[in-house]
Point group: C2
């Protein structure tokens, strides 16, 4: 069995050997730029770890793993345009660096290349199943992004609606990536389902941690601007929960703060954070995150492989939900 | 054998029965809007006609045909953003009607749905081949768009470079659509290749006609603004050929006209058109178009089916290259 570090090494090698070969330069450069910024490469790693629960020839899962990483990067590039984000992984976003047109087109090429690598799985008998899952999760990610944008101008978002949105936008891809690893390893439907549910619940918990870090993280390690969600009036779990728990005066203040784009962003971030603190939102969000963590662990426990093989996934999940970046 | 009109009817029915089922409305509405604007539906029609050269159960080719039409619409939506086009098929473009973010995201969903329908072909044994061709042509379309954008700010584009660009951007998808029809009909490689080359040459001729219509067409029937290419300083075949044939004074005038975005667009269009007329550019472009038409016909002749079966394709090609819209 491979350690996550070894799997990351195999993935890096594969990605380097399979860097995009594209002319013209105007299209190739932005794609290489975003892929070489690194990131956590969580989705391909989880796919490889899942495959490796059952089988040792992990190279067989590398093309599909790469496909999921390319897709994830495509979605970041297009989302960053829509969200007008200037920084990603501590660096300038593609559309800020190269222009919106380049952002759109290089994203399109990445989406196509995701399918290209997905089609390179060796056992073509699985292709139809793998592509169907990918089509479904790719659509989910777009739906999630649309809900996320809708929420910015909608007032009364419930916690349930929010959790559904992050399930589409974030958890679906993580869950499908892992399920794809299981299918490639020819695992039965019961295990495939538990693997998917582990990924889905970890994905939701992962996004809740992201929400927490966006306000309470450390700028040096987080890689994005602290308070970005607040500036953008994003309806995160923190905001929705705060609006639910606030008294009349706090609610009025929070709604006012989150309905404007002020010149003094730092003050806005400070005031909203103070309100979160007064309402213990960070602790509440951490508790919710832990609930999903427990759900995920229950599904992992039900997966039909020996307990010692599951340790890497357990450790990774734990570290993801305590991460600072 | 089906007439093109009958095939169009089958395609329309299939498209209506398989309209996108998507929530939220903000994502569904723009997709339905562009797909219901109609257009020529040339790529799926050519695929069905190709399949029908060999086989009668044309329904087997409908999912892949729909996939190509969806992809074509995706590329129009994203290109219209990049080209800042306001009108498509005589109607407001998606990004002008719903905003750029909606244009990006609904385009993304369409690209994913193209793969979704492509994956629905009944003979899964062909899936890998069909998807590989689609990946290649989809990448070509993006490369062509990048070259097209590059050309806007480059000075000395040769006719060869221009023809390569339209091969990527337009002809590749037409050729691949037809080849896919042939593969679905289980045709041998030799015929597949002749079909592809027919499509490629017709595709180039088709784009040359598009260039001609953009300047010399009739606004009422064309569906786009007459002179749009001139306003945008697009390096079309007309411009490249005019620069090649112009005397020193004409060249200077044309370069000046095509390096500015003037307030008075009508005068710019008029002056450039006058220069084209003085240099007989329309006639030269028509001649070039006819050369590709002849090449296409030679490949069609070599296709191993009886001559009477090829009549519909011959007629369609002829009407496309004489079209006014």
């Amino acid at each position: 069995m491979y350690t996550p570090k070894m799997l990351n090494g195999l993935l890096s090698n594969y990605m380097n050997q399979n860097s995009f070969q594209l002319a013209p330069q105007e299209l190739l450069e932005p794609v290489n730029y975003i892929l070489q910024l690194g990131g956590k490469r969580l989705r391909p790693l989880l796919m490889l770890m899942t495959y490796n629960l059952y089988k040792e020839d992990v190279k067989a899962a590398l093309p599909a793993a790469y496909a999921y990483e390319i897709f994830h990067n495509f979605s970041l590039v297009h989302d960053d345009i829509m969200d007008e984000a200037a920084i990603r992984r501590g660096q300038t976003t593609i559309h800020k660096k190269y222009g919106i047109n380049t952002g759109i087109l290089s994203g399109d090429v990445m989406l196509i290349y995701a399918y290209r690598y997905l089609s390179q799985i060796t056992n073509k008998g699985n292709l139809s199943k793998i592509v169907n899952i990918f089509n479904k999760t790719a659509t989910d990610v777009c739906i999630g992004q649309q809900y996320d944008m809708n929420f910015e101008t909608e007032d009364a978002i419930t916690v349930e609606e929010y959790l559904k949105m992050i399930e589409y936008k974030t958890a679906s891809l993580i869950a499908s990536s892992m399920k794809t690893g299981a299918i490639l390893a020819e695992v039965d439907d019961k295990d495939c389902n538990h693997i998917f549910e582990f990924g889905r619940n970890i994905g939701i918990a992962f996004q809740l941690q992201d929400d927490i870090l966006d306000t309470f993280g450390n700028a040096a390690t987080f890689g994005k601007r602290i308070g970005g969600d607040i500036v953008q009036n994003k309806k995160t779990y923190l905001v929705i929960k705060a609006l639910e728990l606030a008294n009349v005066a706090q609610k009025k203040q929070l709604q006012e703060l989150l309905s404007t784009i002020p010149e003094d962003e730092a003050t806005k971030i400070k005031k909203v954070t103070e309100l979160f603190n007064a309402l213990h939102i960070k602790e509440i969000a951490n508790k919710k995150k832990e609930e999903y963590h427990v759900l995920a662990m229950n599904h992992l426990q039900a997966v039909n492989v020996s307990k010692d093989k599951k340790l890497y996934l357990m450790e990774l999940a734990k570290s993801l939900l305590k991460r600072k970046y």
